[in-house]
């Protein structure tokens, strides 16, 4: 379905939970809501589902106003952070429950339940109770229940957050294909930029109840409209340094100066702020054109098979990425290298002025 939000806002008592925002979700599209905790993701989802009515604005399903309509009359399915299944029903009965309510005949229910269960790989456990499954399988059961309903709008509210790392990876990889059937409009809330990148589709970045930016996930990642948006959509957070732009160089406040590249040439001279993602600030000098920056190690954070080195540089802390697992002694001198082709230039007010060039295909490599 096409879901249209027109200037919807939500206020609870004196708290503005969601500032007015407008959004249109195309039929069959995959939409990620990205934002930190308390950004308003769940509030927005509840408005989409019809669990809450917006304080102002309108919600339209396929052009029909459903603003005040109860959730019972909406065409919606939802998956939650917690694994929500009917505790006393078997997995089979759980998945069948929405179909039974729709009054489908037995053979159809059976076929659909088995097909959906197979898709989510829980077909061997159909006769078990949810509590007899692992966390990942319980969530698969909940997702199957939501899918089988065949609703026009499927909402997933951080469905993988309560799973351990391994299961999360596994299920995330499958989700993309499962939702690629084309009919259902999917909305997926997450706090992790990485997850948004892997899932792709469109992204809407939320921060403290405001919509910062919306668009195709790759486009938003490679050209975040503001520092705020870049901060939410970078993990670890983007390094930001004050700088002065001249006609051929950009001079960071500490004296380091980077040559201009294709994307930030011909910008008006003056003060600006420069953003560098951690993966473009490396410990290894991969090429001669990379510019060295010196600092003192504050922390080596090991994440999977890479290390993020936090270093003190002047007044600010920078985060650099290093391949492999390393540990640097606290306080030791370290030299990291910035790629002048990959810097973002923001105005002093934090609006994007220039973003590095990017290709559409480049997305997966970064993720």
């Amino acid at each position: 379905m096409t879901l249209t939000l027109e200037n919807v806002a939500k206020r609870v008592g004196a708290d503005q939970h969601l500032d007015p925002l407008s959004l249109e979700l195309q039929p069959g599209s995959f939409n990620v809501l990205l934002g930190r905790t308390l950004a308003g993701k769940t509030t927005l989802m509840r408005l989409m589902a019809g669990l809450d009515a917006p304080t102002s604005g309108r919600v339209l399903e396929n052009g029909k106003d459903v603003t005040g309509a109860s959730v019972r009359h909406r065409d919606v399915a939802m998956v939650y952070q917690q694994f929500i299944n009917y505790p006393a029903m078997t997995v089979y009965e759980n998945i069948a429950s929405p179909l039974r309510r729709q009054g489908k005949d037995k053979a159809e229910i059976d076929a659909k339940v088995r097909r959906t269960a197979a898709m989510l790989r829980i077909d061997p456990f159909l006769q078990r109770l949810p509590a007899e499954l692992s966390g990942g399988q319980q969530q698969r059961c909940a997702i199957a229940r939501a899918l089988v309903k065949g609703a026009g709008l499927l909402l997933l509210d951080e469905p993988l957050v309560n799973l351990d790392y391994k299961l999360r990876e596994e299920l995330r990889a499958e989700l993309r294909d499962i939702f690629a059937d084309g009919k259902t409009t999917v909305v997926y809330a997450t706090t992790e930029p990485q997850e948004a990148l892997i899932l792709g589709g469109n992204v809407t970045v939320l921060h403290e109840g405001r919509m910062l930016q919306t668009g195709p996930t790759g486009a938003v990642f490679h050209a975040p409209a503001s520092l705020e948006c870049a901060a939410v959509f970078s993990d670890p957070p983007m390094n930001v340094v004050d700088a002065i732009l001249t006609n051929d160089r950009v001079a960071l406040t500490d004296g380091t100066s980077l040559p201009l590249s294709a994307h930030d040439r011909n910008l008006p001279a003056g003060p600006c702020r420069v953003g560098i993602r951690a993966n473009n600030l490396t410990v290894l000098r991969r090429s001669e054109r990379l510019v060295p920056i010196k600092g003192r190690v504050e922390l080596s954070e090991i994440s999977g098979s890479e290390t993020f080195v936090h270093l003190r540089h002047g007044d600010s802390t920078l985060i650099a990425r290093e391949e492999g697992v390393h540990s640097h002694p606290f306080g030791s001198e370290i030299q990291v290298y910035a790629d002048p082709d990959r810097i973002f230039v923001f105005s002093t007010a934090g609006q994007l002025v220039a973003a590095p060039n990017w290709r559409r295909g480049a997305l997966r490599n970064i993720a």
Binding site: A77, P87, R101
Partner: protein, 291 residues
């Protein structure tokens, strides 16, 4: 690590050994000892074998008391459990003054001692000075627990319901509060009816506390003594003479120690049997859900 041998370790278990011996083993063995003897007085005892047990098992009054007891306990469960669930479902949730007030009001009957509950209802039901009795009389019902068996029986039952339904309600309330709100949201999105929410979410989630409630109320009502004792002393006739009542009459009233001891052991075995049955049911049902 090498195994250390030190016989002084035996001293460490002496306190536990003594406490268990004096509080459980010795009294029980004393009763067993009594149950196989005819006792005329100190030093005048005769071994009678299983005679007491045979006479107790053949005792019609005991059979009546047992049947009365079982019907009473089942009636207590049949009223208090559904009633408690209903109250819990109707209670306000969240942290508000209303919630606190409801909880305090519900807890009040639980704080009142058994004999006080008996006395309250004894006075409450009197036709001359009791509000309940006088009201019945005023609307033309000849309510009198002192000479009408059914009235006495009902009064004891109502007393127990008044006293203990709160316990069931509080237990169920705790069970309901532990259900994450997301379950209700999910049910709402599924379009589930109120009955379906109760049947498929609330009831299964309350199962654990409900089993405890059933067990507590059954055991407790099976050993009821104080309320009928205060109200009518087991009467009129034998209408409210439950097992404890009958046992006390035998042991303290008639000083029939041997018979009472045999009865105690049988009573104990009955309670043990029911406990075992409940325990089995608890561990068997919902095995998959409780993990």
């Amino acid at each position: 690590m090498d195994k250390v041998q030190d016989n002084r370790a035996w001293f460490l278990i002496i306190p536990v050994f003594l406490i268990v011996a004096f509080s459980a083993v010795l009294p029980l063995m004393t009763v067993v000892n009594y149950s196989v003897q005819e006792i005329f007085g100190p030093g005048q005892t005769f071994f009678v074998g299983t005679e007491w047990f045979e006479s107790v098992l053949a005792d019609d009054r005991l059979h009546d008391a047992l049947v009365r007891q079982i019907i009473y306990s089942l009636a207590v469960l049949a009223i208090e459990i559904p009633f408690g669930i209903l109250i819990a479902l109707g209670m306000p949730g969240g942290r508000s003054a209303r919630t606190s007030l409801t909880l305090v009001l519900l807890a009040l009957p639980l704080l009142i001692p058994f004999n006080v509950v008996g006395t309250i209802w004894q006075i409450f039901g009197r036709g001359d000075i009791g509000l309940l009795g006088a009201t019945f009389r005023a609307i033309g019902i000849d309510y009198n627990y002192t000479n009408n068996s059914a009235h006495a029986w009902m009064t004891v039952l109502v007393m127990d319901v008044w006293h203990w339904t709160s316990l069931v309600a509080l237990l169920c309330y705790a069970g309901l509060q532990s259900i994450p709100p997301a379950f209700y949201q999910a049910a709402k999105i599924d379009g589930a009816s109120k009955w379906a929410v109760f049947r498929y979410i609330q009831l299964p989630k309350m199962r654990g506390v409900l089993i405890i409630a059933v067990l507590l109320r059954f055991m407790d009502s099976f050993m009821i003594y104080t309320e009928p004792f205060v109200l009518t002393g087991g009467g009129p006739g034998n209408s409210t003479t439950f097992l404890s009542q009958y046992l006390t009459q035998m042991a303290v009233g008639q000083f029939d120690i041997g018979r009472a001891a045999a009865f105690s052991i049988i009573y104990f075995l009955i309670v043990l049997l029911f406990s075992f049955v409940f325990y089995t049911i608890i561990t068997k049902t919902g095995e998959g859900e409780k993990k």
